[in-house]
Symmetry: none
Subunit: 256 residues, 2 copies
DNA sequence: TGCATAGGGTTGTCTAGACAAGTAGAGTCA
DNA sequence: TGACTCTACTTGTCTAGACAACCCTATGCA
């Protein structure tokens, strides 16, 4: 980090008195944004519905149009609304948007959309590793590994089935976490040093168990992401993340 | 899509004369943003280096601070800079970046596996762009774009259905290529300068046409990758790549 | 009937000024 | 020396007004 610039004298604006704090999450544009997010989460505007115009929001919130405009522009960037010049602002198709293949915490992603996130823990235990799993996690065959099976719900709708095995040597306290309150991704982020990740993405029909957990028909096309992460020394975890294809897609961008 | 609201009369601003167009990619905030992006790409500011303050950019570009602020805010959102209130703007740590969904030529991939690659060209022509497509490729609606529909086979088994639209302004000789001998990806690599790519991955059941072309059942789960590539200036192509899920998966790796 | 146009809505953007809040160097005083 | 304030600088945000580009409907005219 380079040290900040010196401070040569320069004439600046004359100060005056004012009242309320404006920085931070209580800022007006944040209020407008949250109001719209809440409305979207509550189904106030179904997908494709026309949302209030900037002028209407200006009147409703008593703020300037630039402020409203910023809120809407950010919602657009987040993929929650679509805007057409000369036409209006529309509620976007639900959940299309997700983020990069960067490893993001699903919880943050869902909350970032202004939605409610819930985890249902179906399995949380230690079990002996199969031969293949032992190879993947680079542990001795038959030695204990941690296994969790969790379904994540967005606004009550199952979004992801997360079947995960964890290397106990790297995250010995993994099983003690309360996964209804913290996601495995977050827990592992917190306690291990991620260095590298490998993933593979495929489409397949859900297994019977997965279909049941996700509440979809057994032949639904699902997007399956298998991700293996590593510290600099050893594998941390291998996760099989199953999304019903109709409710999810991955987006990304890269620049060589 | 709900129909737009009615237009009750309301008083609006009085018009006045002005000169240059401000909307679009030539917009001042875009210029500022691009200038900084270019500088970052050129290594003008190494990771962590202090970048020009808003006031300096205001002076340099002759625009208002709000305009500069917007450019910097968007660069921050893109992860290219970090900003600290009261301190300054710093070049972000390089490539925290995502993934290596590197664009590989399918032909090389198949040949690399020691297998035989064959392309069946089902469509190769120029056609008028639909409104949405025109937007995606940033061409005038209704203007001609190039369209190819090709099925790639590995050892005689259909592996990918490639439905591709190309911007004629960027690759004017695209249609003259012999796609039984060279893949579109290779042709475009050869004739255009790839700068950026956007992709979206989802799972879905194949359409009837796709199922027929791929020789699979209509309800087969497929992995669909929609990829849009760009030169530094304009979109090159948008491709919809459909793989029968059972026969394909994507692999990647990244390092933070 | 059919076409051109005007009007009034919508988003997109820019400006100039202002205040708020945070940082850090430079002085001041005990 | 060490703790304090002062002050210049930074980013963060808001406002009111304006113009541009675009879209849709209604209207008037041929």
């Amino acid at each position: 980090m380079v040290s900040p610039r010196m401070h040569p004298p320069r004439a600046v604006a004359t100060p005056r008195a004012a009242s309320t704090s404006r920085t931070g999450p209580g800022a007006p544009y944040t209020r407008v944004k949250q109001h719209l997010k809440d409305g979207l989460a509550a189904g106030q505007w179904p997908s494709g519905a026309l949302m209030p115009s900037e002028a209407e929001l200006v009147a409703q919130f008593g703020v300037s149009r630039m402020t409203v405009n910023r809120a809407l522009r950010e919602l657009q960037a987040e993929g929650l609304v679509e805007r057409l010049q000369g036409v209006g602002t529309f509620a976007a198709q639900l959940h299309k948007v997700s983020s990069t293949l960067t490893i993001v915490d699903l919880h943050e992603e869902i909350v970032g959309r202004g939605h409610h996130h819930e985890s249902r823990v179906h399995l949380q235990r230690s079990e002996p590793a199969s031969t293949e799993l032992a190879t993947q996690l680079e542990v001795a065959p038959g030695s204990a590994v941690f296994h969790t099976l969790i379904v994540h719900l967005e606004n009550g709708v199952p979004l992801q089935c997360e079947d995960r095995y964890v290397n106990p040597a790297v995250a010995p306290r993994y099983l003690q976490a309360d996964f209804t309150r913290i996601t495995p991704t977050h827990e592992l982020f917190r306690t291990t040093a991620l260095w590298r990740a490998q993933y593979s993405i495929e489409a397949a029909q859900a297994t019977r168990q997965e279909a049941r957990l996700l509440g979809v028909a057994a032949d639904t096309a699902c997007l399956i992401l298998v991700r293996r992460t590593f510290t600099r020394e050893a594998p941390i975890t291998i996760a099989r993340l199953v999304h019903p294809g109709s409710r999810y897609s991955l987006h990304g961008e890269f620049q060589p």
